[in-house]
Structures are given as C-alpha cells and as structure tokens.
C-alpha cells in the first residue's frame, strides 16, 4: 500500500489503544470496560497486521491477529456468561433484600 508509511498505521493503532485505555479507566459499567478491552485488542491487531504487512512475510502477524480475535471472543463469552450468571442468580435475592428493607 504505497503512500501510507508504517508509522501512520501504528498511530491509528496507538489512538485506538489510547481510547481503549480511556474507556477502561472511565467506565464504571462492566460491559463498558469490556468494550474498552475490545478497542485495546483491536489496536494491537492493527499493529500486528501492519507489521505483518510491512515486514514482507505477512502470515505470522495475521495468524497472531486471528488468535487475538478468537481469544477476544472467548473472553467475551466468559465475561458475558459471568454477567448472565450474576443476573440469573441474584435477581431474586435482590428483590428479597429490597423487600426486607421496606419493613
């Protein structure tokens, strides 16, 4: 891809990384933070693909990126499963607590 220096791509990654960090730091909501993590991972992936691209042997970097995507999915699955678990197991308890506090 002539005309775009590697550094520029890296800067795109860096900006994503910074925004991801910012998200992670400021969100108080777990899902918000998970979204921030996705940004961070995407930032890394841009770098992998970019380095792969500019190194002339693109396969390794791209494979790494694929693993990152896959593991991100796994993490999201676990994370949301935990969220779901909490939701399913605590809904009733909270109702009780609220109820008992009314007396």
């Amino acid at each position: 891809m002539p005309g775009v220096p590697l550094e520029h791509v890296l800067f795109v990654g860096l900006v994503l990384f910074a925004l991801g960090l910012y998200t992670v730091l400021t969100r108080r909501n777990a899902i918000g933070i998970l979204m921030g993590i996705e940004l961070l991972l995407n930032a890394a992936n841009i770098d992998y693909v970019a380095f792969a691209r500019y190194s002339g042997t693109p396969t390794d970097g791209q494979i790494f990126a694929i693993f990152v995507i896959m593991l991100a999915a796994a993490e999201a699955a676990v994370g949301l499963a935990i969220v779901l678990g909490i939701y399913r197991n605590f809904e009733s308890i909270d109702v009780d607590a609220t109820h008992s506090l009314r007396h």
């Binding site: 890296l10 990654g13 990384f17 991801g20 992670v24 777990a30 933070i33 998970l34 921030g36 993590i37 961070l40 991972l41 930032a43 890394a44 992936n45 770098d47 992998y48 970019a50 380095f51 190194s55 042997t57 390794d60 970097g61 494979i63 790494f64 693993f67 990152v68 593991l71 796994a74 993490e75 676990v78 994370g79 499963a81 935990i82 969220v83 678990g85 909490i86 197991n89 605590f90």
Partner: protein, 506 residues
C-alpha cells in the same frame, strides 16, 4: 533438536494426558453419578502427567530428568512453538503437583463438593493446568499469549464457580476485567516486539534486539507493556490489586491453585522472556542485559514495592483468605529478588522457592479450607483457640506453614528465603536485602497473629468444633512433612533446581 509436528506428539504426553482427561471428564460427567470418581480420575491424570513429565528414569542413564520419551535431551517441539528443557520440566512438575493438590483439596472441600458441577470443575482445573504447562514451555509470543489466556479464562470461571455467592460473582467479574485489560495491554506490547523483530520467537527477538536497530525507548516501552500481562499473573505491584478480591471470592482450592500454580507459571513465563529472551548468558552463571534495556532496575523497584505493599496490606486483614492473598503478593516480591540479580544463583533460588512456596502456601490454604469446612468461617475470630477445640492437627500444621512462610528454620520456607537472600547478597544488592529483611519482620508479625489466635487465645465457645477427616488430614501431612523435611535436608531439590536452570536456546 527441532521436532516437527508429527514427531512432537510422542513427546507431549503430559499435556495430552491432561487434555484427554479433561475432555474425558466432561464427556463422562452426564453418566457418572458419583462425582468423586471424576475427581479421582482427575487426580490420576495429574499423577500421570507428573510421571510423564518426569519421564522414565532409566536405571543406567546419566540423564534422569527427561520428558516422556524424549531421552535425547532438550529442544524445540511443534515447529518451534514450545521448547522442552530443564526449566520447563521443572515447572511442569510443580504445576502437576499443584493440580494434584488442588484436586485433592477440592475433593475435601465443602465449597466444591455437592455443587452438581464437579465434573466441569475438574475438567477446568485440568484445562488450566494444560495452560500452565504451556506457559512454562512457551518460547514464542503466540504460545505465551495463548497459554496465558487459557489459564486466565479457566481461572475466571473457576473463581466464579460458587455462583450463589456474591463474592464469587464479583470476584470473577473483577478478575476478568482486570485480566482482560492486562492481557490486552500485553498483546499490544507484544505487537511491538514482533514489529521490531519480525518474529514471535524469543530467540529471534533476542537476536534482533541484540543487533539493535531499535531505539532503546521503544524496546523498553514494549517490555513494560508486556510486563503488565506477566505482572498480572504473578500479582506484582502495581498489577496486584485483583488478588485479594479474587482470592477471597474463589473457592479455597481454586485460591490455592491461583496463588501457587498461576503465580509460578507467571514467573516461568517471565523468566523465559527476560532471561534467554532479553539477556545474554555469561560466564559463571552471570547474565547481562541487552544494551539499553535496564529491566533489572525496574524489577528491583517492583520487587521492593511488591513485598512491602503486600506485607503492609496483610497487616490489617482479618479474613484469612485475604490475608494470605496479600501474603502471596509479598511472596511474589521475595521471588522477584531472585529475578533481578541477573545470575543463575538467583534463578536457582527462585525455582527452589517455588517448590517451598507450593508446599507452604497450599498447606496454609488447606488448613483454611479445613476450618471453613467445619465452621464456615474464614475470619480470624473463627480461628480463636483452634488448637484447643479439636483442631490441634490443623493448628500445628498451620503453624508450620506460617512459620515456613515467615522463613523460620528448620522449615522449607527458610531455606528458600535463604537462597534468595544469598543470591541478592552475593550480587551486592544490599538495599534490596535490607528491604527484604524488614519485610520478613513485618510478615512475621501477621503470621504470628494467626498463630497467636490459634494457640494463645482460648476459645470462647462459639467458634464451633473443628474435626479433621482422614482425607484432609492426609493432605495436611502430605504438605507439612515435606515442609519440615525440606528444611532439614534439601540438597536433592536444590540439585534439581540447579539442573533446571537450563534454557534451550536452539
């Protein structure tokens, strides 16, 4: 030696055993009603993996430490994805032992038993152990990342295993978020290393950096970012804050597993990247860092901060699990002392310490579990007069483990600390040694507080009686006897550690 994929299968017996057992247990779960049998199977798998990792010791062979059928020595496996060398095998032994103890503990844990999902639980423990094995063996950023994530993901689940418990849910979520951020930052750092070296192989990274086109700052930035991921695993300051919450929320066997197995694996991965990867071996066991990459100074500060904040944090705790969590943070700091001295003696000491730490920390958590089983309590008051209300054996065992953690002879922990401090003093890191010693003093204080509560305080009568069943008693003996034994004669283990500071560099 550089084996391709097909040839590598034969040499992956430990991992294959664990993977097979994990899958088998999940598959068998619906049909097996007595879940203890699944636990027993997991226990067997751990033992088998341990034996496979040790390999078969030939009576007439010079070489007694070999993995599986690989009697020819050390080398690459799986197209240079992992290595097999003394270092990796040593950690695999520790992980197999840790998994073994974890499963054993789980079998006697009220938190794990009768939850209805023990099958999955054992499978997840085994899966995490597979991750640990590969963490020790990874010689490649991709494998390191993958193995680390395997451990992390299974750990999140195991932490949240008691999902009817508020603390478990919160802990799991925290752990996941924290771990996710840490590993994401790490992956970003890894991308830079890849960019600089054009390869994921540690050796290639080492060569590329050694012939250094890269600006030192960039390498340093990348290394620090990677450290976020590794530091998270060993719970070093400032990546330690998840530990108390997670340790408290997780079932006790899992806590023990995390505090020992996961932490040790973090050290394994750390050492392999920073020593053969980012340093140059020299004569007489000394190492030198690559030019411009002054990570030892950084880690020196991390080490001191970790042990200090860990110990200070533990001082005020009244929940035993939290206290031990902080204590294990502090121990990461002690272990890092061996890490920063850039000498084989330091690594040797770390390896030895990992073994002793395994014994005493698992032991301490085992006692916590015994008490929690009987009384459902984890707070300090639940331990009041433990020795005088039926819990003499757990109390004495706890005292042994705690004194060992404090580093008092003739217990294993003392020997471990002795070697760490010896390495530090030998390399003239006197400030570090003094900080370390000051920390052992603080640590002694809170360990003694527990001992005092158990022995010196009299029970008030509302603490409940602690009975010890044979299963858990045997576990305590299994851990306590070597804790004393290693304090009296440790030459073989030290010899093993010494031989294990061997990295296959290709």
């Amino acid at each position: 030696m550089d084996l391709g994929n097909a040839a590598s299968v034969a040499y992956s017996a430990p991992e294959l055993i664990l993977i097979g057992a994990a899958i088998g247990i999940v598959a068998a779960d619906p049909v097996v009603r007595a879940k203890e049998q699944l636990g027993a199977a997991a226990l067997l798998a751990c033992a088998a993996a341990l034996i496979a990792a040790i390999g078969i010791r030939l009576p007439f062979s010079e070489r007694w430490l070999v993995q599986g059928l690989l009697r020819g020595g050390e080398g690459w496996l799986w197209s240079r994805m992992v290595v097999v060398d003394g270092f990796a095998v040593f950690f695999k032994l520790v992980f197999a032992l840790a998994a073994f103890a974890t499963v054993w503990m789980s079998l006697g844990s009220a938190e794990v038993q009768d939850s209805g999902e023990e099958g999955e639980y054992y499978a997840l423990v085994l899966a995490a152990t597979v991750g640990l094995f590969y963490m020790a063996a990874a010689a490649n950023l991709l494998m390191a990342y993958l193995a680390l994530e395997l451990v992390s993901l299974t750990s999140y689940v195991l932490t949240g295993y008691r999902r009817h418990d508020r603390r478990a849910g919160e802990a799991a979520l925290k752990y996941l978020i924290y771990g996710g951020v840490a590993s994401a930052v790490m992956v970003y750092g890894m991308s830079w290393l890849y960019g600089l070296a054009g390869s994921f192989q540690y050796r290639a990274i080492h060569d590329a950096l050694a012939h250094g086109a890269a600006a030192p700052l960039t390498v340093f930035v990348a290394v620090v970012l990677v450290l976020a991921g590794f530091g998270f695993k060993i719970a070093a300051v400032p990546f330690h804050m998840w530990a108390p919450d997670v340790y408290e929320g997780a079932p006790i066997p899992v806590t023990a597993f995390l505090s020992v197995g996961s932490k040790a694996a973090g050290f394994a991965i750390l050492i392999r990247l920073f020593y053969p990867g980012l340093s140059e071996p020299g004569a007489g066991g000394a190492w030198t860092t690559l030019a411009g990459l002054d990570w030892p100074t950084l880690m020196l500060v991390v080490s001191m901060a970790t042990m200090t904040l860990g110990n200070l944090g533990a001082l005020g705790q009244r929940n035993l699990k939290r206290l031990l969590a902080y204590s294990s943070i502090a121990h990461a700091g002690y272990l890092l002392m061996g890490f920063v001295v850039l000498d084989d003696a330091g690594l040797r000491a770390m390896l030895f310490y990992v073994v002793t730490y395994y014994l005493m920390n698992f032991g301490a958590f085992a006692v916590v579990m015994v008490v929690a089983n009987a009384t459902g309590r984890e707070d300090m008051d639940g331990y009041r007069g433990l020795a005088w209300r039926g819990g003499a054996v757990p109390a004495v065992a706890m005292a042994i483990f705690l004194f060992s953690l404090a580093g008092i002879p003739p217990l294993a922990g003392f020997v471990g600390k002795f070697y760490l401090f010896a390495a530090v003093v030998e390399q003239r890191f006197y400030v570090l040694a003094l900080v370390g010693f000051a920390n052992t003093l603080v640590a002694l204080y809170y360990y003694l507080r527990i001992v005092r509560t158990m022995f010196l305080d009299r029970p008030r009568g509302d603490e409940g009686v602690v009975a010890l069943d044979a299963h858990n008693a045997f576990l305590l003996y299994f851990l306590a006897v070597p804790t004393i034994g290693l304090g009296l004669y440790w030459a073989p283990v030290m010899a093993l550690a010494e031989r294990s500071v061997r990295f296959f560099l290709g």
